[in-house]
Amino acid sequence: MLLRLLLLTLLGGLALTLAPGTAAAQTEEPTATEQVSGTLRTNVSGPVEGVEVVVTTADGTEVDTVETDENGQWAVPVPGPGQYTVTINAEDLPEGVVLTGENSRTVTVDAGRNQGVIIALSDGSREAGGGTVRWIQLLVEGLRFGLLIAMAAVGLSLIFGTTGLTNFAHGELVTIGAIAAWFINVQGGVPLIPAALIAMVIGAGVGALNELAIWRPLRRRGTGLVAALVISIGLSLLLRYLYQIIFGGGSEAYADYRGQRAVDYGPFTMTNADLASIVIALVVLLLVAVMLQRTKIGKAMRAVADNRDLAASSGINVNRVILVVWMMGGALAALGGVLLGLSDEVQWDMGFRLLLLMFAGVTLGGLGTAYGALVGSVVVGVFVQMSTLVIPNDVKYVGGLLLLIVILIVRPQGILGSRVRVG
């Protein structure tokens, strides 16, 4: 939940403190005693450490005073259910970080609950930058997000094109990349870049395993496409909750590149990590495009996606092409997961939440086409971010999903899809 909130507020322009972390993630197992907790951070400069947090009861008696830790987190156990006021000492805030509203909040703590407290902060460096224009900022952030979606969605679209499978378990390939990189990076102590490369290899391996262990045998059995779709949902559920058991319900950040300050580029600001992820995504997608356009296997992929029987009869080894598509899709999704984990932290269901936006992107671009997925995903990413100009931040995904439904009404074949009317 922590993460979701974070994610939703990420682009809002205002950086935010985030709180109900524990509250939502752990509602199923209430803590034995009541407490209030929260995280002080801004999305530009990261967690805010060493800020004094004072918790008082409704009649003004002080319960405890703590300082935020290096992750910006704080927690104070309270004697029982009731109203508490949380105040932070604004003078402890680092230079450039200012309060968006009040420096105190009054919350009601229910029995056995860990009540999250949100105190909104914004990063003053943004105002200091002068030329900051909100829509440009959102456009850039939308581009970054859209490129991430695109990276994950290319595989989804190509798998659909080559096998006809609507793979609802594709989001889990994204998550596996992020989680694998997290374990290698945080538990294994390997720097993030090699960890990301290993995660891509793992992603490719999982993709290959998907094809070899499940989908190829099923195609051989002649399993229908709808059955395959439901099977992919089963697989998605299986993997997703397995991740939750292994990884836990919380959200974790990588060990490297955390808490970077945004660099001012005039009309917009951006952390170096975000800039790097844009560059990486662009380069990787360009390579994919070149591969599809120039190499033999790339042409074979497009041929199979276009007309499988014709491709097979002209001597293309369709099964091998599909295997390569799965491996490529898995590796790209894993990389997308790592980059998403870098900006929004790693969570067990991050891939599933991205899946619906991937579907939106792929549908917009035209199901089954590689370039369509690219264009569509970027449009969806930008649309979702820019929509926060008019709608509140925490419903911006709803905007993206609405866009999906509107596309289906107006142009179901997508931007680059062929005009075949089906059904």
């Binding site: 059995r221 089963g234 909750y241 397995l242 059904g423």
Partner: protein
């Protein structure tokens, strides 16, 4: 041994309880759409959410009578079905699937968002809306009643009774419908849409009717769930529930009147038995704590559902009662 009997009793209660009714109604709705008509509605939980919140919002936020809340919930489900069906029913099956799952997730996000908090109370959820309903019970709802080795509160018993009556009525309705000319048209749409169209039937309208009917049944399920838990919280209506209902339907047998009901009861029995059994084994130290902790058990059920769904579709797509030839498992 005593623990085994306890686990069985708890599982039996789950298999007969209002959660099973909830799942059964969702699955009956999906049976109309997927089993008989061949529509892939992956957003059934959204209909349930509208049903549950229809009562919750009307009663506890707007102060309307209980029955008005029921009507509001049903109307909301009809409107959602029309909105989703209009653009997608002319398209290939997977478009409807994507649109419905997107709508379900979108609605859940919307209901738990800060901007909707004045109406839906956000993530805190609504409660205290079932007093009128519980007051209708013909017995003392404040007492506990021992049945089959477990204790049921009077209110729980009342919700469950009403729920099973609803299930029975829905089954009767479906049974009558599929024997009618309407049922024959709908089943032929599942088998060959073009053939039906060439016979002059308006396929689009029939599909829409099936979608609305299934959605209304889902909304009824959501109402029973909200009344049973006496609360409505957006996160109770996770997407995974839709697939739980699919698994129940396929387990029991799609395109069979009683398939979803038997499937739902069995499903909850199995889940609860595995749940209690695993917890007991962990508590006894048979399963070491570091291999699987008691908090992981809640997730295990979804892992098992996912695995079960896959295995069923691969090895026995017709489930317990179904007919393999009748199970719509091909895309169009």
């Amino acid at each position: 041994m005593g623990e085994l009997i306890d686990a069985l009793a708890v599982a039996l209660k789950a298999g007969l309880g209002f959660q099973a009714v909830f799942l059964a109604l969702l699955a009956i709705g999906i049976n109309v759409q997927f089993g008989y008509t061949g529509l892939l509605n992956f957003g059934q939980i959204a209909f349930a959410m509208l049903g549950g919140y229809g009562i919750a919002i009307s009663v506890s936020q707007w102060g309307l009578p209980f029955w008005v809340g029921v009507v509001v919930g049903l109307l909301a489900a009809v409107v959602l079905a029309l909105l989703l069906g209009l653009p997608t029913l002319r398209l290939r099956a997977d478009y409807l699937a994507i649109a419905t799952i997107a709508a379900a997730e979108g609605l859940r996000l919307l209901f738990r968002s800060v901007s909707a908090t004045p109406v839906t109370a956000g993530t805190r959820g609504l409660s205290g809306f079932n007093a009128d309903f519980v007051a209708l019970a013909p017995w003392d709802t404040s007492r506990q009643y021992p049945i089959l080795g477990t204790r049921w509160s009077g209110a729980e018993l009342w919700v469950t009774t009403v729920g099973w009556v609803l299930v029975a009525l829905s089954c009767l309705l479906i049974w009558l419908l599929v024997r009618s000319p309407w049922g024959r048209v709908v089943k032929s749409i599942r088998e060959d849409e073009d053939a039906v169209r060439s016979l002059g039937k308006n396929v689009y309208v029939y599909k829409m009717q099936a979608l609305v009917l299934g959605g209304v049944l889902g909304a009824l399920g959501g109402m029973i769930y909200a009344l049973g838990t006496a609360s409505a919280n957006p996160d109770q209506y996770q997407n995974a529930n839709t697939f739980l209902a699919y698994a129940a339907l396929i387990l029991g047998g799609a395109a069979r009147v009683l398939g979803p009901v038997v499937g739902a009861m069995l499903m909850f029995f199995i889940i609860q038995f595995a749940d209690t059994g695993l917890r007991t084994l962990i508590g006894n130290g048979v399963i070491p704590e570091d291999l699987l902790s008691a908090t992981d058990v809640a997730q295990i059920r979804f892992v098992l559902i996912g695995l079960g769904l896959m295995l069923l579709l691969v090895f026995r797509p017709q489930g317990i009662f179904g007919d393999r030839r009748e199970v719509m498992l091909d895309a169009r």
